[in-house]
Symmetry: none
Subunit: 132 residues, 4 copies
């Protein structure tokens, strides 16, 4: 269905990590309008976190208009948030980026350094923190 992952050491609030992952999956077209998110209880059980925390994340997604809860059925991705980018384009870009990462590793950069370069290039092109 959709798998969440958590990084407890990142210092990022748990519920925000969940929200980000859904938002990102929507942006990349992995989650389509109408797709169902795992239930609060499923997520809570899988990640061994408090259901309230999951509920809070879903509430935030609703607030942003990205998802909608249907009482008694679950939470679903909203129609208004389509990706508008061609999946083939994504595939091409991902492929190219994977090659770049491969290059970087070949040049001796470890995962951390690769992330650092990505973050710094991202920062150049916009005023915001990307890969923190």
């Amino acid at each position: 269905m959709f798998a969440f992952r958590l990084d407890a050491r990142s210092g990022v609030p748990t519920f925000l990590q969940l929200v980000s992952q859904v938002r990102q999956a929507i942006l990349l077209g992995y989650l389509q309008p109408g797709d169902q998110l795992p239930t609060v209880r499923q997520v809570a059980a899988e990640l061994t976190i408090n259901p309230n925390t999951v509920a809070k994340a879903y509430r935030e997604l609703e607030r942003e208009g990205l998802a909608a809860a249907r009482s008694g059925q679950g939470t679903f991705i909203q129609a208004t948030t389509a990706s508008s980018v061609d999946p083939a384009t994504y595939a091409r870009l991902r492929h190219a980026l994977r090659r770049w990462v491969h290059d970087a590793h070949a040049a001796g950069l470890d995962h951390e350094r690769v992330a650092a370069v990505m973050a710094s290039v991202l920062d150049e092109t916009a005023g915001r923190e990307g890969v923190a």
Copy 2:
């Protein structure tokens, strides 16, 4: 000397943002062993945050062995396992990645989507550190 930037909306604790930026700058070779970080008071004034918050970030860097405070003098980058990656290599990789970002923008991806693709490709190659 060294410029910090903050993203208040990211939900990432301020002191962690500071820590990440120094860590990243060290990884990329922007900060070398012996370099002085701006003083606690300078950073606090520049970002209009509380000196304690900056101090906390610096303490964390010290804990990680990346920096060392010299009372009355300032805080300095430690001689750690240096970068060991050729600056020219970094330049080449950054250049290539910038071209990729340019491509992605040309294909219609906004900044958020670019970040999302980067994060997801990064996640493929290791189990950690997404765009959170």
Copy 3:
């Protein structure tokens, strides 16, 4: 549960006194893995110090891997390299040392001098940790 005590006159930072006492209790087997430390607020109330000071001590213990905070539950002793010294042995040694202290008092040494002798003998056997 576990009782802290403070010596305001010692010049040792409050949070360090707390840290030392927990560390020492672990070494002596008084605190076992899984034991809960009193909550930040309890300690702060009992010693009439600021909760932040207690939190700082607990964070330091966490940093050393001796304790772990569970948000919303409390702070607990970690399963570390346990004491591995027989309680009976401790009892025997404590008993013998108490006799020595008694002797010293009988010989006219006050508490300060007793502490001074202990500290200097300790210093002989290792280059660190005196009565500072």
Copy 4:
């Protein structure tokens, strides 16, 4: 003459460490009335600390009546602070305590644990922190 040692990691203010060591040496009879302390500059050079810090420690010793500065000559232990405990008694007690430490080591206690037992027994006999 008299050798100071510092433990930078202890968190105890430098000048207090110096004061304690002199106080302790007087208590144990190592420093006798009339004995000269090393000059501020000597100590500062030897420990590579700021002369002001040493001066502050000596000022504190003067304030406590333990030492007195003679302008242009140096700082000397005051007559009023004699030990009143027989050196032979000290020797005997030290010897016994060394045997106890030896025993403890033989029983498997490392230096830290030995210190911990000493500290806890000390604490029993008085309301103050000895070996912190």
